[in-house]
Symmetry: C2
Subunit: 492 residues, 2 copies
Amino acid sequence: MFESAELGHKIDKATFEAEVPILREALLQAQYELIARAKFPVVILVGGVDGAGKSETVNLLNEWMDPRHIQTHGLGEPSPEELQRPLMWRFWRVLPPKGKIGILFGSWYTKPIVDKVLGKSKGAELDQHMEEVVRFEKMLTDEGALILKFWMHLSKKQQLKRLKALEANSATKWRVTPEDWERFELYDKFRKASERALRHTSTAEAPWLVVEGNDHRYRSLTVGKSILQAVRAFLDDATPPRRNLAPPLVPAIDNLHILKTLDLSQALSKKSYEAQLEKYQGRLNMLTREAGFKNISVMAVFEGNDAAGKGGAIRRVTGALDARRYQIIPIAAPTEEERAQPYLWRFWRHVPAHGRFVIFDRSWYGRVLVERVEGYCSEYDWMRAYSEIVDFEEQLSRNKAVVVKFWLSISPDEQLKRFKEREQIAFKQFKLTEEDWRNREKWGAYEAAVCDMVERTSTRYAPWTLVEANDKYFARIKVLKTLCKRIEQALG
Amino acid sequence: MFESAELGHKIDKATFEAEVPILREALLQAQYELIARAKFPVVILVGGVDGAGKSETVNLLNEWMDPRHIQTHGLGEPSPEELQRPLMWRFWRVLPPKGKIGILFGSWYTKPIVDKVLGKSKGAELDQHMEEVVRFEKMLTDEGALILKFWMHLSKKQQLKRLKALEANSATKWRVTPEDWERFELYDKFRKASERALRHTSTAEAPWLVVEGNDHRYRSLTVGKSILQAVRAFLDDATPPRRNLAPPLVPAIDNLHILKTLDLSQALSKKSYEAQLEKYQGRLNMLTREAGFKNISVMAVFEGNDAAGKGGAIRRVTGALDARRYQIIPIAAPTEEERAQPYLWRFWRHVPAHGRFVIFDRSWYGRVLVERVEGYCSEYDWMRAYSEIVDFEEQLSRNKAVVVKFWLSISPDEQLKRFKEREQIAFKQFKLTEEDWRNREKWGAYEAAVCDMVERTSTRYAPWTLVEANDKYFARIKVLKTLCKRIEQALG
């Protein structure tokens, strides 16, 4: 992996000075085209050995290009806000939007590699992390991002020489800290772990470029030219947007599916409902006040047929909670800022801190429901969403978020009845749109989408709860009960 | 102030139960209209005496209306991220966008009142704070917001009774903490400070409504009806948007103005430039590495004529900095999310933490420059911007942000020369637009706007630096020198 970055690459001064002005102009030109077209973001990762010129390279890129459209992020220790969320949250926060260049100095590679080097994690854990990284980067490239990963390398001998040289010069002495020397002692371990990480994550979409860092001219030109070529290639690509094929999903050929197994006739009397409502709201309220609740969070997802009673169910949940503790996120069309980011970005931004309760009224499942059925995205895009969502929810639950997902199911007849009721009541008319009637005509297609969704995204840590919702009382109690049970399990 | 909230207001159960369904339906109707039209945000503040039903009221509002479109924020102790910014930053973060209702439980009143009660501040400081609050709320209402401020009150006797009653009941006992009793001891002081604060801040645009909190039916109906009436009044207001008049600004009648006093012929030789560039870049670099820099931040604002060399000057500044330490915010048209908020919101979101350096390429001064000259906002709107900006910058500098503002000034002839150069150079063509040519025709109007801006917003803590920029070398060095001087002063 690192062999060719230990050959002693060098560029002489004359060549460098002749090439730089041409490179800079071409880089600027490419950058302005990138901004003007705003078709894709450029994510540049800079990692590698200390002293191999990481920060010098980043500073140089800011000098060569227009720094106003480069976002550089030095990601050191996570902040308290970041520590309360999944590891990846802080990286989602700083992803560049379309048209911009983001340079991440310290990335999703740093912690897994350092943990391995310091013996805090095993090789298998590193591999597992890297697998997740591959999936994450694949998602980014599927969303159109250009990812460039530079690994600045120095041989052990070169690093020693460099640290000593820095120390010898009074102007650069401050840059060598005791930690640098401690890390130098770990060179071999670091090299081994890095190689393992890089090997697993050098993919066709996002390959690593290992750059020998000893000669600043070689290093700078290599990085600059790599960026130029990649951005140009992406800008000049005249082929129509990639439409990867996904093998079509075949519905169960005997036409038996999970929604058919629901007994929608289940109902509760008003009296029984009221008694149980009080009971489970009380229990839910007490659960959110337990000491342990400070260390977990709840993300409750409400999906369901139109008019299935999501709003009513949500109100029975919030009725049990203190308004300062929860937040409801109604999912509507994405905003401009959200459209300039990968699909899941607008949900990541609402990931709660511990001790908080977030309710999603519709959710990231829109991709595999309405967007699939209405053809708002390609088949490939919604097919990949299943695994992206499963990854997302796994990260959440690993960070102690209780992810509870409800599908509220009603029969076509019941829906018709409710639509007609809504037409009659003044303040409910707002809730009924043309779109609701149109969706109704695609009942079968939605049903198939729901079945696939449940099958592909119901996991041990984030299972779907199907809620028989023809009877509102029954549905609300089932929702409350399920929430209580899941939170109780999490509190242990 | 509190007399009429100690009269023992009460509503009987029958009246309450008859009125609530009607009120709820009307509230919901109003809320849906608010959402559909998205013309203004509703900011509801809930403050007052402990035990007067603050949280019960907030929960009830969430129950009565559609909680999916209410954002409730319990603002307790500030987070580490918040502590690094001006006091108001955390409130700007949670302002509801147009069409939404935001309930703030704990607000910009809390800390000033509590500090006074605990003897941490003097009465004069409280008054000064309240003056700032009045200006802040005026800005919000000028931006179209509906502000509703509820103060839940209990007499001392009632509070004592209530705390005792809560303690006596095993289900509510947990709600009474030792701090509650400590605070009860301070009742008189709290009452006095609150009255002082409320008196100063009960304005026509945002009056306080003091509500007797003892009877939950009276309290709930009062708050509910007040909200309904206010939202309805704002929704039904058929008068055209208010166009407050501002007295016209008269330019100096002898036609002498500050830009004319600049000696644009000042220049530096290339040699002298290069020597000074190295010197001041080095000094700037060292300043950002001083230990004390961790406790301040820098906000550098670059404004100037088109083609005055803002980009080049910015690059000479960033050339001295580590890319991980700074961020450049190029100000373009506001995004959808930004348009749903008050004007300054999109700048508040970029206020840096301590130890950071943020450069604004154009800034909040757009309001009193391009928006004024092009008529993008009313005269009243840009007139009020002067004082809003002065307040903004005062808050920043009080929080140890060094606010450095540059106006880069060139002559019309020099601009023409540069425009023509840009037409010739391929990668500079991106920088020249039709708009630049149009702006040029309004040279006089822009000049007047610049003079007013400098006169009205150059303050002791955030002075303008006018930069003679016909010679780029001279301009860049003046920028670097000024930055060094201001940061040195701040580091003391």
